[in-house]
């Protein structure tokens, strides 16, 4: 094993309890650590890690204030603040954290149960160091998104003698790289390979995710239901189920699932965003508005609240017919921000503003019209454009968007929302005609129906 010189390493101890911090400091220093810094809470930890990444993080699972070490870990990964070289060790007083680790996708390098001796900490840290060394070349290629090279490294090392200790991790990494590279079929095969050996909930969820990516929604739903039923504390699985439900057009079920888990993780703002999306699709505009307002106000990590979030918040206000609030959100966006919007965001911005405040929004919206007619756009932007086009009675623009949406992969997901927009203008028959045309086109082209099974 690699002997690590802990005098050279910078430790960060994250714990809200002074006595527990003191214990961790004492243990780390007895293990040889020279430099031990403290962070008493969540925000402070993120600040310290962002400024100067430590080598070894010892983080208590319970951080107080409704936050957990697991959340912190997820946040650090979300903002790419944790280099692969940094060791993140969760420290926990009870065994229930093991249940979390056994289920979730995003795990720390290891976790250790209190009380433990300096010797045990060293033993664990050295194992992690050895593992990081084993995967070092792979991590490098993965980070550069050189997926083929990363997979080649895995293939070459996983059956080596040293690789025997990391066989499951190798298989898991292989599946994740296939997913990242966009090869959902190979990812599915890799996850099924893991399930052959053992029924890990995360591997079953991986199968569901791979099927979802292949738009095999009924099968994906079956798989994820098994995971959710077997491991109710596996919240990522609930998120995945909600996403699959939404793709199937079952927005009520999606919202129900997310409502439940969001209550248990009130400060998980990625989940809140998802809840807002599901509620919006489900026609529960109040919940959508409240969730997005919470995100924009409280997702306090710098850079966490994006332009996309502001647009979503404005969208939920428009959905709730609160045009004043929508206008306020849009006009509060900084000019520099608006200047730098990409086409999809410009489309949403001008469309939402055209609905919220026609006087201010229409000119820009009209100016964009040629681009909106001709360019590929993400579904959310298309729905915004469609809404605005219907409100200014630009039928050609509206129907173009509707056709694109209904022949795309999100057809089931937003079908109800689009139909409602047409109905509000008394144009339901026109929407049915568009549906008919899209269906005919599909038959002519002999395509697999997009959004279908």
């Amino acid at each position: 094993m690699t002997a690590v010189d802990y005098r050279q390493k910078r430790f960060l101890v994250i714990d809200d309890q002074p006595m527990a911090r003191e214990s961790l400091r004492a243990i780390a220093q007895t293990a040889g650590a020279f430099s031990v810094e403290f962070a008493p809470g969540y925000q402070d930890a993120i600040f310290k890690i962002r400024n100067n990444v430590p080598d070894i993080i010892l983080c208590d699972y319970m951080l107080g204030d409704g936050r957990s070490g697991q959340q912190l870990l997820e946040e650090l990964r979300r903002f790419n603040l944790l280099p692969d070289e940094t060791i993140f060790m969760m420290v926990t007083g009870e065994q229930s954290y093991e249940q979390v680790v056994a289920a979730v996708e995003l795990v720390p390098d290891d976790y250790i149960i209190k009380p433990f001796s300096p010797d045990k900490l060293i033993m664990r840290l050295e194992r992690i160091a050895a593992k990081k060394q084993f995967f070092a070349a792979f991590y490098r290629e993965k980070r550069k998104q050189e997926y083929a090279k990363a997979l080649a490294i895995l293939a070459a090392t996983k059956d080596s003698d040293a690789g025997r200790n990391y066989r499951f991790e190798s298989l898991r990494q292989e599946a994740e790289v296939h997913l990242a590279a966009g090869d959902a079929e190979k990812a599915e095969a890799a996850y099924r390979g893991i399930l052959e050996r053992y029924e890990f909930p995360w591997a079953r969820a991986g199968v569901a995710k791979s099927l979802h990516r292949q738009n095999r929604l009924t099968e994906a739903r079956e798989e994820i239901e098994k995971v959710v039923a077997g491991t109710p504390h596996y919240f990522d699985a609930a998120d995945l189920k909600a996403n699959i439900c939404m793709a199937q057009g079952e927005h009520e079920e999606a919202q129900k699932v997310l409502d439940e888990v969001a209550k248990k993780t009130p400060r998980n703002y990625l989940r809140k965003r998802l809840l807002a999306e599901a509620a919006e699709l489900n026609g529960d505009t109040e919940t959508a508005r409240a969730a997005m307002a919470d995100v924009v106000a409280n997702d306090t990590v710098a850079g966490a609240v994006t332009t996309e979030d502001q647009l979503t918040l404005a969208r939920t206000h428009v959905g709730a017919s609160d045009l004043i609030s929508a206008e306020k959100v849009l006009l509060l966006m900084r000019e520099s921000e608006v200047m730098n919007l990409d086409l999809a965001q410009q489309a949403s911005f001008s469309a939402l503003l055209a609905v919220a405040s026609p006087g201010k929004g229409k000119p820009k919206f009209t100016g964009l019209r040629p681009a909106l007619m001709a360019s590929p756009l993400p579904t959310a932007s298309r729905v915004d454009v469609l809404r605005a086009a219907l409100s200014v009675d630009d039928r050609e623009l509206a129907d173009t968007q509707a056709r694109q949406i209904m022949s795309g992969e999100d057809a089931k997901k937003v079908f109800g929302a689009v139909r409602k927009l047409y109905a509000l203008q008394g144009r339901e028959p026109d929407f049915r005609e568009i549906q008919r045309q899209v269906a005919m086109q599909r038959i002519h082209h002999d395509e697999t129906p997009a959004g279908g099974e």
Binding site: A26, Q95, A102, A103, K114, R167
Partner: protein, 202 residues
């Protein structure tokens, strides 16, 4: 009912935090003064292990225990049991020998299994004359753990069982893979001639 469990779990949690503080202070004093207080630390860790086991037993007896299965390097697990127990046993004149021939990872509940093996080694240490052996091997489909000693052996291997053994048996049988369940076996004899505690995990 869940409320009661939360109260118990939170009590155990707080107690373990206190114990951890005590252990860290002792470890620091050992380093500072160059003394060996490992027996005091051992007592603290044993007390904490006992607390964990009590909570686990409560779960198991209520039939609401769920395993948390992760891929585990069996050799690492054995090394940790050795780290936890070897020094204490040496203190009482007993040698702990560890023999692990499993190189691959095995899916199992790492924390519960560590507890079970720690408990088994502790028990063996109480009855051993000079030696306790922990071994692990596999035939590809089953993983075996065995703890044996050179003491008198079980008075009645088929007879009544202590809480620790009941918990061990339940934990073993909760390990399930492709419809096969784990099991626990007690016997006497073997190479060391004393008690043999064996777990088979699918």
């Amino acid at each position: 009912m869940h409320h009661l469990l939360d109260v118990l779990a939170s009590g155990v949690h707080d107690t373990k935090n206190q114990l951890f503080f005590a252990e860290s202070q002792i470890a620091e004093a050992e380093a500072r003064h160059g003394i060996d207080l490992s027996e005091a630390r051992y007592a603290i860790e044993s007390a904490s292990g006992r607390l964990s086991r009590t909570l686990a037993a409560y779960h198991l007896l209520r039939q609401d225990a769920a395993l948390a299965v992760v891929p585990v390097v069996v050799d690492d697990l054995c090394s940790e049991v050795a780290l936890d127990q070897r020094k204490h046993l040496a203190h009482t004149g007993i040698e702990l020998e560890v023999n692990c021939s499993v190189r691959d990872e095995w899916p199992l509940d790492r924390d519960l299994m560590t507890d079970v093996l720690n408990n088994a080694v502790q028990n063996a240490g109480r009855h051993a004359r000079k030696k306790v052996r922990l071994s692990a091997w596999s035939d590809g489909t089953t993983l075996y753990f065995r703890v044996e000693d050179d003491g008198e052996g079980y008075a009645d291997p088929e007879g009544g069982r202590s809480t620790g053994l009941i918990v061990a048996e339940r934990i073993a049988s909760l390990h399930e893979r492709k419809k096969r369940k784990g099991s626990m076996h007690l016997s006497n004899g073997g190479e060391l001639g004393g008690a043999i505690f064996e777990l088979c995990l699918p």
